[in-house]
Structure formats: structure tokens, C-alpha cells
Amino acid sequence: MKIKLYDIAHSRAGDKGNTLTLSLIPYKSEYYPILCNQVTVDSVKQHLKDIVSGEIIRYELPNLPALHFVCKQALLGGVTTSLAVDTHGKSLSFALLEMEIEVNL
């Protein structure tokens, strides 16, 4: 079945200049392998194509467990000079959580 990431994980966005960072933390550690398999650089790039125009890097943190995405050229120039409504991109954690994945729960 298809579910949203929102159903099994939470996220916080951060900003460094024009770069957006997004953590992705499963509520239960047994979901971590599902996230590793399905929330890939390519699938996130496709999902956030209207927002992120630069490179996306994924970091795996099995110690937490969590995934972490660093998205370049994502904030219309960055917090002080952007013309956007949300200049930090702080709300973008919930954009990531809108992504759908296929699971057998």
C-alpha cells in the first residue's frame, strides 16, 4: 500500500545559506530500512523538483536511526536576500513528509 512519509516519520528543516537540510526520522526503528530503500537521492530529487534545483546528498545514520538530506540551491538565494514567504525554508520538512512510498505494513 501507498503511505506518506508523514505516517511513519518526522523531520526538521534547517538552512545554511542557500542550502536546505532535512532530517528524516522514523517513529519506529524497524521503519529505518524501508526509508533507506525507498527514500533515495533520486526519489527525493523527483519529489522536491519544484523546490530544489541543486545537488542532493543523503547521509545514513544507523546509530539514531535516521536519514539526513542536504539539498543545494533550494532557498531562492538564502534567508536574507530571498523573495520567498518562508525565507528560511523552515516549513519544508513537511514538504518532504508529503512524499509517498510503497510499504507492506
Partner: protein
């Protein structure tokens, strides 16, 4: 030498709430209270205030915070560490002394300076972000190097009750009292790595205790309105337990701590600070009680030979205008208004942003989700080189009252002066920090 110390974080940004810091100072049984009040943008704005008035340029809330906090930190023998000095730590120290005299309190304040490196830059240094020389961004307003824990240690070695700084790396505000209290070596990458993890978790205050976390029905937070800020108990071996004052709102769980651990981090195995390059990949979290999380396993590698410098430049102005449409066909009327404004302004501005707030303004997409909104707020923004030009944006939006689609209401207009931020690197050896003491 103590075997355990307790540090509280009373503020995670300049505009943070005051009450949680007062509760920490009153009931937290703290050794140190840290107030982290300086963002990249804040210090450039503070530099502008200092240019207008040499006695200003420190945090705008300094007087209010100190009036309430000074009696409590003296009564409970707490040392206060804060970067509220912003562009002018010396003026901040003198202001704190004035307040202490009014309150009949004996206070020694140590001001840490040396982060202001604008005179050391020629403008030909390359920006980290663009690779271009700094001066191509615009007229440089400020340049502040991120000082490390080493800049705070001489101040901690004095009898100062308050240590006030300008630009210091946020985690270093916590690393310094740990190093001072336990006599750790700044070259001990394991201890300093763990101290940096502790500092990074603490620096945003309420974000660790459930602030910026709540999502009703999914991530519920008890007594949210009375959210408490965190404190951390740290032992000599670096073991840390994070908690909050009993009776305050909020929560500390594995989930809140994980969100904060990764917040604003680029590569989690290489988190650059002036103290070292920290590695979060071995961090291990354990829930040890209600609202109690133990954190171990921070480590790191040798400190970098360069310090990051945050450079502020004059980036002109942004003009904004807003107006609302509601009821049947609201989005279509707002879109007609937006396209009309675009036509009227396009010859004066190269970059115009039109947002339909309530539809796609925040994420620039709605992922195919298109319910008909009952109301829409049109927002227009554009960059300009002068404030007069920026004002045109709001003027055209306001003119929609008699020259636009039907039923527009609640027009507002704004002009912002923009300080842009870029970064560069400077050899560590060129940056000299000093301390000066002030007494009330």
C-alpha cells in the same frame, strides 16, 4: 574540581521568550546559564546600529533580560555566558554594569572581543558560497570571525559573573565552561567532540524540549504554553544527561533530541566548529527517565586551521505588498490581480515574486493537491536598489483597491532594508581575541 556540572540554555535566538530563562535561573540549580542570541543576520544588523550610535550594537533585548536575570544569577551563584554583545560586547558589558548598579548588585562582567575582522579583509577574498571575491556581492558592512572556546577560557578564569561575547560558534558557548570546569585539554578530540555535541543540542534552547516539534495528534506536547528550556548535567568523562525543570511544559524524548542533533547540520560526520571537526555518527541516545535523555559517543578530529567569517553586505531593499480576496472565484481574482501587478511593474523590476498565500506560496507547489480555497492573500515582492523604488511595489498593490479585480481587501505594504550574508575563511593565527573586565 567538580565531578559534575549543570548548564542551562535560557535562549536559543535573539527574540526568544524570557520566562524560561528566569525559571532555569530560579529553580534549575545551575552552575552556568547560557543565552544564545546571535544569528548570522543579527550581527550584521547590529553592526549597522553601532555605526549609527557607538554606544549601541548589542542585543536589543539585553536591558530587559538582564534586569530580570541579574538578581537571580547573583542569588543562586550562577555564571552567565552569552553572545548578546553582538557587534559591541564592550558597550553591552558597560550597560550590564549600569543595570547592576541600579539594582545594587555587585557584578563583574568580562567582555570578549576580537571577532570583528572587517579591518583585516580587503574584499578580494573569495566567498565560500559563490567562489567570487567578497566585494562583488556589494558594499561590505561587517565581518565577524567565529571564535572558539579558547577565546572564552581566559574570561572564565577570572571572577567574572558574566561573560559576554560577540560572534562565537554556538556550541563553543557550552564547550568553554565544560573545559574550564573539568580541565579538559582543547586537543582532546574525544572530550571536545562530545562537548560539541552537547553544545549543538543545547544551543536552540526550547527546540530540545519540544519546541518547534508539536504536531497535534501525531506529536503531542504537554503544557505547551509553558514550554521549559533544557539543562544538561555533564560528568567529568563527558557523559551528558539532558532534562528540564520539573513542572515546566514540554517534553524531552529520543525524538526531540534526534531532530535537534541533525538540525542545520551538513555532513554529520564532519561538523565544523573552531574547536574541532565533530563527528555525530557515533552518538548514542538513551531514555534514562521521564524527560531525561543520556547522550554519549560524540567525537571528532583536529580543529581546522582557518576560522569561518560571516560577512554582511548591503543588498539593497525589498518592497512588498499584500491584499486579500475571498469567496467564490477568490483564487482567479487574486491571479488576475497578480498578473496585472506583474504587467504594471515589470519595466521597473527585474525580479518580481507573486505568491498566492493559501495555495502554493510556502512550498512553491502543492504536490497536486488543489482544493478550492475560500480565501487567498496575494503577495508581491521585488528587490530594489533604493527604498523609493522598493515602495513602488506596495503602492501598486494598494492601488488595486480602485484599479484591480473585485473585492480585494486588507492591503498592506512594507519596505525592508536587506543585509546579505556570505562567508569566507581566515587563518586562525590572524584572529586575536582579548578580554576586558568591567565592575559594578
Amino acid at each position: 574540581m567538580k565531578h559534575k556540572i549543570r548548564i542551562g540554555c535560557g535562549a536559543g535566538f535573539s527574540g526568544d521568550r524570557l520566562e524560561p530563562a528566569l525559571i532555569l535561573a530560579e529553580k534549575g540549580d545551575l552552575d552556568y546559564l547560557v543565552l544564545e542570541c546571535l544569528a548570522e543576520r543579527t550581527i550584521a544588523l547590529a553592526q549597522k546600529r553601532k555605526l549609527q550610535d557607538a554606544t549601541k550594537g548589542y542585543d536589543p533585548l539585553l536591558e530587559r533580560r538582564m534586569h530580570s536575570l541579574l538578581p537571580l544569577i547573583r542569588k543562586n551563584n550562577i555564571r552567565l555566558i552569552t553572545n548578546m554583545g553582538a557587534a559591541n560586547p564592550v558597550a553591552a558589558a558597560e550597560t550590564i554594569c549600569q543595570i547592576a548598579r541600579q539594582l545594587h548588585l555587585d557584578i563583574i562582567v568580562a567582555a570578549v572581543t576580537g571577532d570583528d575582522v572587517l579591518p583585516l579583509l580587503s574584499g578580494t577574498e573569495n566567498s565560500i558560497e559563490t567562489g567570487e571575491p567578497l566585494h562583488t556581492s556589494g558594499k561590505l558592512i561587517s565581518a565577524n570571525a567565529y571564535l572558539g572556546a579558547d577565546a572564552l577560557l581566559p574570561a572564565l578564569a577570572t571572577d567574572a559573573h558574566i561573560i559576554i561575547t560577540g560572534r562565537v560558534a554556538d556550541p563553543s558557548l557550552f564547550v568553554a565552561p565544560l573545559v574550564h570546569s573539568f580541565g579538559w585539554s582543547l586537543d582532546d578530540t574525544e572530550r571536545i567532540g562530545q562537548a560539541t555535541v552537547i553544545g549543538h543540542l543545547m544551543e536552540c534552547a526550547g527546540q530540545l524540549t519540544g519546541g518547534y516539534f508539536a504536531d497535534p495528534g501525531k506529536k503531542d506536547i504537554p503544557d505547551f504554553a509553558n514550554l521549559g528550556h533544557p539543562f544538561v548535567d555533564v560528568w567529568e568523562d563527558g557523559t551528558a544527561i539532558f532534562s528540564k525543570v520539573p513542572g515546566t511544559g514540554g517534553t524531552i524524548t529520543l525524538a526531540t533530541v534526534k531532530e535537534q542533533l541533525l538540525y542545520e547540520v551538513m555532513d554529520p560526520s564532519q561538523y565544523f566548529t573552531p574547536d574541532l571537526v565533530a563527528d555525530f555518527t557515533g552518538v548514542h541516545l538513551t531514555q534514562t527517565g521521564t524527560n531525561q535523555i543520556q547522550v554519549v559517543g560524540g567525537k571528532g578530529q583536529q580543529k581546522p586551521e582557518t576560522l569561518k567569517v560571516s560577512v554582511g553586505y548591503a543588498a539593497g531593499f525589498i518592497g512588498e505588498g499584500e491584499i486579500s480576496y475571498a469567496g467564490s472565484n477568490a483564487l482567479q481574482r487574486a491571479q488576475l490581480a497578480g498578473e496585472t501587478i506583474r504587467q504594471r511593474l515589470s519595466s521597473s523590476f527585474s525580479d518580481i515574486r507573486i505568491d498566492y498565500i493559501g495555495s502554493t506560496s510556502v512550498h512553491r507547489t502543492s504536490f497536486g493537491h488543489h482544493p478550492e480555497p475560500y480565501e487567498i492573500r496575494l503577495r508581491v515582492a521585488a528587490k530594489a536598489s533604493t527604498s523609493t523604488q522598493a515602495a513602488l511595489v506596495g503602492e501598486e498593490v494598494e492601488a488595486l483597491y480602485t484599479n484591480g479585480p473585485a473585492g480585494g481587501g486588507g492591503a498592506r505594504k512594507y519596505i525592508h532594508e536587506v543585509v546579505g550574508i556570505v562567508s569566507t575563511l581566515i587563518p586562525r593565527t590572524q584572529v586575536q581575541s582579548t578580554i576586558s573586565l568591567y565592575q559594578a
